[in-house]
Symmetry: none
Subunit: 131 residues, 4 copies
């Protein structure tokens, strides 16, 4: 399910973190689901176990997964996310940066918003609480 681009400029461990979060965000992986063990995933992806380990540590730090000693690693209930305030600030800042780039690419507000809508269809409507 995870596909690496060895030639990408973003480090492999970050690619794993991002894609794992994407799978969870899209409900392809749900709370309680077991994620592959470090050994399993590293041998599937043909990469160093340390790299997978680093990714899982980051996911755990972000509250996405949890390792239970001797049982394995599992997707967590979506809950109050760790470091929410900081991460929201970071999100705001990155959106700001993307807007600057859009401006330099000559995009209008409408075009940018369309691109946002395309990307954000996975988000809930928000009439009822986020599940």
């Amino acid at each position: 399910m995870i596909q690496l681009q060895q030639r990408s400029s973003s480090p492999i461990y970050e690619q794993i973190v991002e894609q794992m979060k994407e799978l969870v965000a899209k409900d392809i992986m749900k709370a309680g689901d077991k994620v592959p063990s470090v050994r399993e995933l590293s041998s599937t992806l043909l990469i160093n176990p340390n790299t997978v380990s680093k990714a899982y540590q980051e996911l755990e730090r972000q509250g996405v997964i949890q390792t239970i000693r001797g049982k394995g690693t599992f997707v967590l209930e979506p809950s109050v996310p760790r470091m929410a305030a900081e991460r929201i600030e970071a999100l705001r800042h990155e959106l700001q940066r993307l807007t600057v780039e859009a401006k330099h690419l000559g995009m209008t507000k409408a075009q940018f918003r369309e691109m946002v809508d395309e990307a954000s269809h996975m988000l809930g409507e928000g009439y009822h609480a986020a599940d």
Copy 2:
């Protein structure tokens, strides 16, 4: 006008690139304006001239500024951006990534859109040509 965060994970030269692009996007710096010389900015920011130079070279590659021999460095007319196709693809991908993060932070589509609108007020409406 440029403020560095020495402890940030993004390199200094990138911070300069981003902030310079932001100043241009917000029309605080306009086509024809002279940007500080390499020496001047490096001594203001208390960093090495090479670091400023690297930032300026990147900005030149992106078509934001232009160096005129012995005269200095100037903001360029906004024109056909370099490598537009690739950069638009990258923008789309980063928006996708931010949406995933928004989902993990429990945001709804409406909340995310609001944050986008906040960030994107600098973009033109596009009803009339971009001036």
Copy 3:
């Protein structure tokens, strides 16, 4: 395989870029081949690693080589070249300049063409697809 002329007016990093492109154009280095590491080449050529690094970054920007984190740097498949339109225009302009020089050297069209043919034997015939 790379030979520098310290006294040349063209900078060392450009000499490396040109010669590397020549090796690739002549199929002496092929897609997938590993190029020497920055440290290795710099110690072979007795120059600073930063200079090699600068050359490699330029080659990467031109789509000739690719760096894979922690693994090394490799020759890329020849593909759609970056900034093809601009580079073709530059090529046309430089050919124009060389023709002017040939005229000043008293060369005839036939002599110039002969010199061109000598230089261009590496180019494919184009009857069949490239490769």
Copy 4:
């Protein structure tokens, strides 16, 4: 007749040298013709006289023009060019470099030759000596 691009990456004095040689190669300026004085050309082009002076020195070194004390500067008879052997070697080398670039741009020998022919129409046919 001479048009400078302040924003070009090639220095102004080189642009003057090249364009002057182009005018001569195209027979727009002929042997015996007076070229503008340093002061005149510098005030026409709105540049520093030193820059024009440097260009004229280079043109004189190449045997294109000659300054006659108190009379002015004139286009020379095309004669045995100065440093012909070296300049032919340099020409050969630059053609080699352009071929490498053409190869990287995916051009075939036929396409490259066509571009050469386009550029070299100013050269004589060579049935009779180059005048």
